[in-house]
């Protein structure tokens, strides 16, 4: 630490540059991780809100809620502590000024996926809906009458709930009967038993149903099969891991160049009997100091710029994830330094002092 710190103090510019690079990389990593979390939330927050362990869909739907088609009778065949039926469709909702892509959930008021109301009141009549409060930012208000695409029906917003987005679309929660009316119009009565899935809370999801045509899946599996969800996460995570590798390589190159410059100095120290271990620890300590400061500054900058972002940017910082990535960055930087340690160990003190 003694050598490491004194060298940093003496050569401020040089080490500030390295720190700056690490800071920028960590800033990018933190921001991407925020974006990954934000985009993931966009897709899954309404599902997380159910606090369910599994969902029962038809086997042929291939884990897609929209493509699954069940009847209310199927609920009887599901052996779970708690069940909640759900119907879902997508539509364009318009309050006259703004058009917005929305998801419509048809649910029962007395079952557990009924959302909490943060503003206004719960639906009590047909064609009343609770809306995701993300719609509020788009200019929708309580009392707005919404025209829905592909139907003559209109629905009225009577309340808002938080964290209500499904596959990036704000959700309108309504009674099953509202849903059927919106979806089937005149044929609503004929289709009143139709639902898309059964959300369940149970200890063991795999034994929920013996019906071959039905498939019970873990809620996490269901989320991963939301359209685009897994692909998007893989892409962002790939970028994050790649950035970690890049930072390791950059640190390795920087330190290697610095080490090569100091070969004769290390050689003299080795001639004087200072051990490889001490010199190696010094380089590793130096990298640790640089990486730790760089990552911390990057962390702060991320939080600061996050506070100034417009809410339309889907960035959501998960502190635990960021700390994990921060530690990962420091670890890979130190791994990059090991490259220089090898060089130090191989220095022949005799050659270095020109003997």
């Amino acid at each position: 630490m003694f050598l490491a710190w004194n060298e940093i103090k003496k050569n401020k510019l040089r080490f500030t540059l390295i720190m700056g690079v690490l800071m920028l990389i960590s800033y990018l990593v933190f921001f991407l991780s925020g974006l990954a979390t934000g985009l993931a939330n966009l897709n899954r927050e309404s599902v997380d809100k159910w606090d369910a362990t599994g969902i029962v869909l038809t086997e042929e739907s291939d884990k897609s809620l929209l493509q699954s088609s069940l009847t209310l009778d199927d609920v009887e065949s599901v052996e779970a502590e708690e069940t909640a039926v759900i119907s879902q469709m997508n539509a364009i909702a318009s309050n006259g000024d703004t058009k917005k892509n929305v998801a419509i959930f048809g649910i029962r008021e007395d079952e557990f996926i009924m959302p909490n109301v943060t503003e206004g009141k719960a639906f009590s009549k047909r064609n009343e809906v609770i809306a995701s409060d993300s719609l509020k930012e788009e200019g929708f208000q309580i009392g707005d009458e919404l025209d829905l695409s592909s139907t003559e029906e209109t629905v009225t917003i009577v309340g808002f709930t938080d964290e209500g987005r499904f596959n990036a679309a704000p959700v309108l929660y309504g009674e099953l009967s509202t849903f059927h009316k919106v979806k089937y119009g005149e044929a609503a009565e004929m289709n009143k038993d139709q639902i898309n899935g059964i959300v369940v809370r149970a200890d063991d999801v795999s034994i929920l149903t013996k019906d071959d045509k039905l498939e019970a899946i873990e809620i996490e599996t269901f989320i991963e099969n939301l359209p685009g969800y897994t692909e998007q996460n893989l892409t962002l995570n790939f970028m994050i891991y790649f950035l970690c590798i890049i930072s390791a390589v950059i640190v390795a190159i920087f330190l290697y160049v610095l080490t090569v410059q100091k070969i004769s100095m290390f050689g003299v120290m080795k001639a004087q009997g200072i051990s490889n271990g001490y010199l190696s620890r010094s380089v590793v300590a130096q990298t640790f100091i640089l990486a730790a400061i760089g990552v911390c500054v990057g962390f702060l900058l991320t939080l600061i710029s996050g506070a100034f972002l417009p809410s339309a940017v889907p960035v959501s910082f998960d502190i635990v994830t960021m700390i994990v990535y921060g530690i990962l960055l420091i670890v890979v930087a130190v791994l990059g330094a090991l490259f220089s340690v090898r060089t130090i160990v191989k220095i022949d003190p005799l050659k270095a002092i020109g003997g």
Binding site: F2, L3, Q272, I353
Partner: protein, 231 residues
Amino acid sequence: MTALELSHVTKSFGTGHTKVSALKETNFQADRGELIAIIGPSGSGKSTFLTIAGGLLTPSTGDVIINNQKLTPLNEKKRSKIRLQEIGFILQASNLIPFLTVDKQMKLLDKVKKGNMTKGELEQLYHDLGIEELRNKYPADLSGGQRQRVAIAKALYSNPSIILADEPTASLDSNRAFEVMELLKNETKNKNTTTIVVTHDTRLISYFDKVYKMTDGVLALESNVNATGTM
């Protein structure tokens, strides 16, 4: 008491036709409290001798014994430890670390080794070398002579039993050179260390107990001022 002994040591580089014998069979002993000079033209094998004696270079044959410990069979790690504990190097190339102040150069030795000089002794050493004013300066801010004096302070600070110096007065003017030699002589006598100086500088001959001459890899005793000294 023998501090350093080279027994039947030879060193050759290369093999076959290109084989060069840098050091012919050499037997050498240095006792505690002796100040020894090795003179000779460049390329005569002086530096080879010094690096072998300091455990930096392994001889082709023969043994190097420092304070009754054979150096030759030890691995680099153990030899490095002996260098740290027993030997103070004063090298031709300045052996200072560019990003440490003079005081911190000494502090580094405290970090890696116990049993260095006390604070009072260090102050005395600074005073003797005339570098008290330089303690907070970086090597880049020192003149060549000042750097050399700091390097000497560094070698002496670790209380070595053997001091190996390669042209320690090369970058000093005559007065400073004499002062440095005086200092090395005092250290040698007071601390009962063994000091071996490789030098071109014939002005200094009078300071030494023994003078050896190296010619084409052959080491020969030239003068022995100290009548009681044994070869």
